[in-house]
């Protein structure tokens, strides 16, 4: 708690000192699935500044630790596509087969993880060579992936097992499985690496997991068909696809506090590293929304390509 107060004070100093841009994301990269493209959105202007052709109906996205490269899954062509985020060009692509969708990058190592929902495995990929190093067995149809900030654990939302797998990255094996609500899809780990939050599309709730004890702390009801979760300002935000809304919930009490009317099929969602803003990809409306996690108002909107998914980490 004391540490939290100190962090808040630092954030406040940064914010009022006009230095917040140092900790804020500059761009959002949305995978536009029907359009087959990647949109680059300048977040200070909330304007799309570039579009890159990806192909294969891109959906999942992860960024390298230095955020100069984006790794994208294209489920229709069963590919992993690497994009240089600085020059905004596709640099390499490799066919993985199966059903690649969920993707995450290691926070320090040149290593990428791709969930294959058909083989029920997570592929470990060397980011330097794009070669598959090994495949780790998890539950049925792994979907969202997330890595703890210390780089020790990889968590997968095993959609058809109604559970989360906890994988020891060094040992390359699953060390635990924690039950969730029905059909967990997106998964988000907090900045301290303490908790994981899954969006459960069939039971319309978020499961909160204590990673160290591998146990469920609780669940929070959401709107209909939640897709993914973001965390900012002591609050959780779930994108409710069928509700067209964002459910806001209190991370301490684990109760919903507000429903924000958002857009048609809100999907990918991520908080700026500074916690200043939350960004939401709206699949139905072809826009990226910016939310203020304090006022809970939509503060900006940028047009992107057709059908943005942005499933994963898409802010750089």
């Amino acid at each position: 708690m004391r540490a939290f107060v100190r962090v808040s004070a630092v954030v406040a100093v940064l914010a009022f000192g006009g230095l917040q841009s140092a900790a804020m994301a500059g761009e959002a990269l949305t995978t536009n699935q029907p359009a087959d493209t990647l949109s680059f959105v300048d977040l200070s202007a909330m304007k799309e500044v570039a579009t890159v052709k990806i192909g294969g109906k891109p959906a999942g996205i992860a960024l390298s630790p230095d955020k100069t490269k984006a790794y994208i899954t294209s489920p229709d062509s069963k590919e992993l596509v690497e994009v240089d985020a600085v020059s905004r060009a596709v640099t390499r692509r490799v066919t993985l087969g199966g059903g690649p969708l969920g993707i995450a990058a290691h926070p320090k190592l040149p290593e990428i993880y791709v969930a294959d929902w058909y083989s029920h495995k997570i592929l470990v990929i060397n980011a330097k060579t794009l070669a598959v190093v090994c495949a780790i067995s998890v539950g049925q149809s792994p979907s969202g992936l997330a890595v703890t900030p210390d780089g020790r654990l990889l968590l997968s939302a095993d959609r058809d097992s109604d559970a989360v797998s906890i994988v020891d990255i060094a040992r390359r094996e699953r060390i635990a499985s924690v039950p969730t609500g029905k059909r967990p899809f997106g998964i988000t780990i907090d900045n301290n690496g303490e908790r994981a939050y899954t969006a459960n599309v069939k039971s319309n709730d978020v499961t909160v997991i204590d990673i160290a004890s591998r146990s469920v702390l609780g669940s929070v009801p959401t709107g209909r068909r939640p897709y993914a979760v973001a965390l900012a300002n002591g609050l959780g935000f779930s994108t409710d696809q069928y509700g067209g809304s964002i459910t806001v919930f209190d991370l301490a009490k684990l109760v919903p506090t507000e429903t924000i009317k958002a857009c048609d099929h809100p999907e990918g969602i991520e908080a700026d590293p500074s916690g200043h803003d939350v960004y939401v990809a709206c699949w139905g409306d072809n826009v990226l929304l910016r939310l203020d996690p304090r006022t809970l108002k939509v503060t900006g909107k940028a047009d992107v390509g057709d059908g943005p998914r942005a499933f994963g980490k898409f802010l750089r």
Partner: protein
């Protein structure tokens, strides 16, 4: 063991809504029609979730819950069972309803892919006024194809699902326009 799996797969295959899994990518269809009538007149025809008589393919609508949408984690919203003229049956649930904005959204909770080759289908109906005596009726759908695994048969692939929904929307919107403008 293999045989048992094959039987299980065959059983699951005949109940696609149970074998819940994503196809590779969600499809999107949006169709609209301009109608020479005020928005409230169009809303009066299409705005009741319990009355789908404006869709020519529909023989009968039976439901509960009026126009009350589902809330939060509860599946307590308005429901309807649609019997098609072809004999097929579709079950649906209301997700959002806003009479003031003249819009609502709903989802299919049960359908055979032989009736409509889609999975995880959700939809929006919106009426927008274009001045005092013209309006636009928009029908928007989001869904996965009928076959939820890799390498689908042609009748259940992305194109087939998109064509089925597009044809339904186009023919229905033209029929609504003709009905309202014809004063019927």
């Amino acid at each position: 063991m293999l045989k048992r799996l094959a039987i299980a797969a065959a059983i699951l295959g005949s109940f696609p809504i149970m074998a819940w899994a994503h196809g590779p990518s969600r499809q999107k269809v949006t169709e609209s029609v301009e109608i020479n009538a005020p928005a409230d007149k169009v809303w009066a025809v299409v705005g009741n979730f319990q009355d789908l008589s404006w869709v020519p393919a529909v023989a009968k609508t039976e439901g509960t819950g009026d126009n009350k949408p589902a809330s939060g984690s509860n599946n307590d919203g308005a429901k309807r069972t649609i019997t098609l003229k072809s004999g097929g049956v579709i079950e649906e649930m209301l997700d959002e309803y806003d009479a003031k904005e003249m819009t609502y959204s709903y989802e299919i909770t049960k359908v055979d892919v032989k009736v409509l080759p889609v999975n995880d289908y959700s939809s929006h109906i919106t009426v927008t006024a274009n001045g005092a005596d013209k309006s636009t009726l928009e029908w928007k759908g989001a869904f996965y194809r009928g076959f939820m695994n890799n390498d689908p048969p042609p009748e259940l692939n992305d194109e087939a699902s998109k064509k089925a929904v597009t044809d339904l929307y186009k023919s229905t919107l033209e029929a609504v326009k003709a009905k309202i403008e014809g004063g019927k």
